[in-house]
């Protein structure tokens, strides 16, 4: 049997196959090209800049009289920055570049007349955004370690934890994008969702310092869970219950977002 015959013989109901996803990743990997630059900028330039300015510069002020954070300000914001960078990456990638694939450039239209299914395409899309962030995240964590921020072996898992945060934003926002006819609302998402969450997810100060209402809103965002998870992994101060919550809660966003993206692509490209 040739490869094509093998696919043809696969049962009709398999809307998901591992090889389909693999082929999607291979395809995206080959077309990455200039995309490496963004990964390196996000993974190296961003943390160096922020850690110098905020970690060391601002940290000098914060740490002057023993702070209430239980660790140096540098140690405090390092993992938080990783998680919020993941959020920004996932959100941004789920807006314009996603629109390009689905509508403007039509790459996904061409992919859907191959054996690839909508399910594989949706999973592949979210997965590829996350995979690229993971590469940036590994570099980012390396920089954090270079600044002496890693305090536990658990720290090695921070790139994975941050990738979960990335996916928790990429998936629901991609679902939103897949139903949009144009990019008019995209700047609003960045301005009124992503930027506020960057400030209020506990990356720079404990959310307990916020007014009660905002604190509770912050607890409902996957970004706060991401910040907490990265910070706990970094300090090694892990509690089973809260760690499980910090993983499962964002995972639910990934799942719902994936289902939404699948439905959105089907609606937009499969009518």
């Amino acid at each position: 049997m040739t490869a094509v015959e093998r696919i043809a013989a696969q049962s009709a109901e398999t809307s998901f196959s591992r090889s389909g996803l693999l082929h999607f990743f291979e395809y995206q990997f080959v077309r990455l090209r200039t995309g490496w630059r963004g990964i390196v900028v996000t993974g190296v330039f961003t943390p160096v800049l922020f850690l110098l300015v905020m970690g060391l510069g601002l940290g000098e002020l914060v740490d002057r009289d023993a702070n209430e954070l239980g660790t140096s300000y540098l140690n405090y914001i390092g993992p938080g920055l990783l998680a919020t960078t993941a959020m920004q990456w996932g959100s941004q990638q789920a807006l314009w570049p996603t629109m390009a694939e689905i509508r403007w450039e039509g790459g996904y239209k061409a992919a859907l007349v191959t054996p690839l299914t909508v399910a594989e395409l949706a999973a592949g899309h979210i997965g590829w955004i996350s995979a690229r962030f993971f590469m940036a995240g590994v570099l980012f964590s390396g920089v954090l370690a270079g600044f002496g921020i890693a305090q536990s072996w658990w720290f090695l898992l921070t790139p994975l934890a941050a990738t979960l945060t990335c996916a928790a934003f990429a998936a629901p926002i991609a679902a939103f994008t897949s139903l949009q006819g144009n990019d008019h609302l995209f700047p609003l998402i960045m301005r009124f969702v992503v930027i506020p969450l960057l400030l209020f997810s506990g990356a720079f100060f404990p959310i307990t310092n916020l007014p009660a209402v905002l604190e509770w809103i912050a607890r409902l965002t996957p970004s706060w869970h991401g910040v907490e998870l990265c910070r706990d992994l970094s300090s090694g101060d892990l509690a089973l219950g809260s760690t499980a919550l910090h993983i499962l809660y964002p995972l639910a966003f990934v799942l719902v977002g994936y289902i939404g993206t699948k439905a959105g692509i089907k609606k937009t490209l499969g009518t």
């Binding site: 094509v4 696919i7 395809y27 080959v30 061409a110 191959t114």
Partner: protein, 307 residues
């Protein structure tokens, strides 16, 4: 004879609007079948259902013996699709566009590379293999899209207006390639605005208008049924000839008034022309030509295809 594709009372609605209003046709394996029709006829809507990407609203559709609703993946594995717009990957080279697309079909890297080189030769793009897609001309992009549709050695190739916007030379090159595919036993379904294209390539065709089929048959059959053998084109200084209408009625000749000329349908053009002259009809310009599918379309709908 086996069937590559069959549609029975096939319908497609977008909300309240019905784009395809119950069409039935069959494409025998190894044949070239064409859907000829003006803008908005429902050609692409029909094609998209065949690709399995667009769900059938009602009626039945069988592609390569399978049901698109339940066997989408298996059908697409054996289909070659040339969509109306070229959607090539501008981040990749010409060759990569073929190789990476092959991977979606589960074709091994080695086979994908061999196939890509073979297909680039087939569509005369071998010398552009390493180039980016963007600088290619329209005709080259079209050829690359066709090559991409062939990476999986498809049993059925769908071509949605493969030559629209190409110059005559590029069109003839494409037609030649499509002939070669046909000779290899590939079934082709192609939509077009151009009757000469349908006449050149199609074994059978349907003329589609407003979501319905207005005629079906082989090109010669359709011309014979709906038209005369020849058509006489007449031009007049003041655009029309008042005598012509009555003369034609008396002599039983069918005529069609177009904005710039008048068509007279006749099996013998010369005879018709001299008859008209005897009756005092003196056009400033005349042309006798073979009847085409354009005339069939005009006769069926009273409209011209490309207006």
């Amino acid at each position: 004879m086996t069937t590559a594709l069959s549609a029975v009372d096939l319908r497609k609605s977008f909300g309240d609007f019905e784009a395809v209003k119950g069409i039935s046709f069959e494409v025998p394996t190894g044949q070239t079948f064409s859907i000829l029709g003006p803008n908005g006829a429902g050609k692409s809507s029909t094609m998209k259902m065949v690709t399995t990407v667009s769900p059938v609203t009602s009626g039945s559709l069988t592609v390569l013996g399978m049901d698109p609703t339940t066997n989408g993946r298996a059908i697409r594995a054996r289909l070659g699709v040339v969509p109306q717009e070229d959607i090539l990957d501008s981040e990749m080279t010409v060759r990569e566009n073929l190789v990476m697309y092959s991977r979606y079909f589960g074709i091994s890297w080695a086979d994908a590379r061999t196939k890509a080189d073979e297909l680039l030769k087939f569509v005369q793009l071998a010398d552009r293999a390493g180039d980016k897609v963007e600088p290619l001309s329209g005709g080259m992009k079209r050829r690359l899209t066709i090559a991409r549709a062939l990476v999986n050695d498809p049993s059925l190739v769908l071509l949605d207006e493969p030559t629209t916007g190409l110059d005559p030379q590029a069109r003839h090159l494409l037609w030649d390639r499509l002939y070669q595919l046909k000779e290899q036993g590939v079934s082709l379904l192609l939509t077009t605005h151009y009757m000469d294209e349908a006449e050149q390539l199609a074994d059978r065709l349907i003329i589609m208008d407003n979501g319905t089929i207005s005629a079906e048959g082989s090109p010669t059959q359709l011309i014979a049924e709906h038209c005369s053998k020849e058509v006489v084109e007449l031009r007049f200084d003041n655009r029309t000839s008042p005598e012509l209408q009555s003369v034609a009625e008396q002599s039983g000749l069918r005529i069609e008034n177009l904005p710039d000329r008048t068509l007279v349908y006749a099996d013998d053009g010369d005879a018709a022309l001299s008859h008209l002259a005897e009756q005092g009809v003196h056009p400033t310009g005349t042309l006798i030509r073979r009847a085409t599918l354009e005339d069939v379309f005009l006769a069926l709908t009273g409209r011209s295809l490309n207006e």
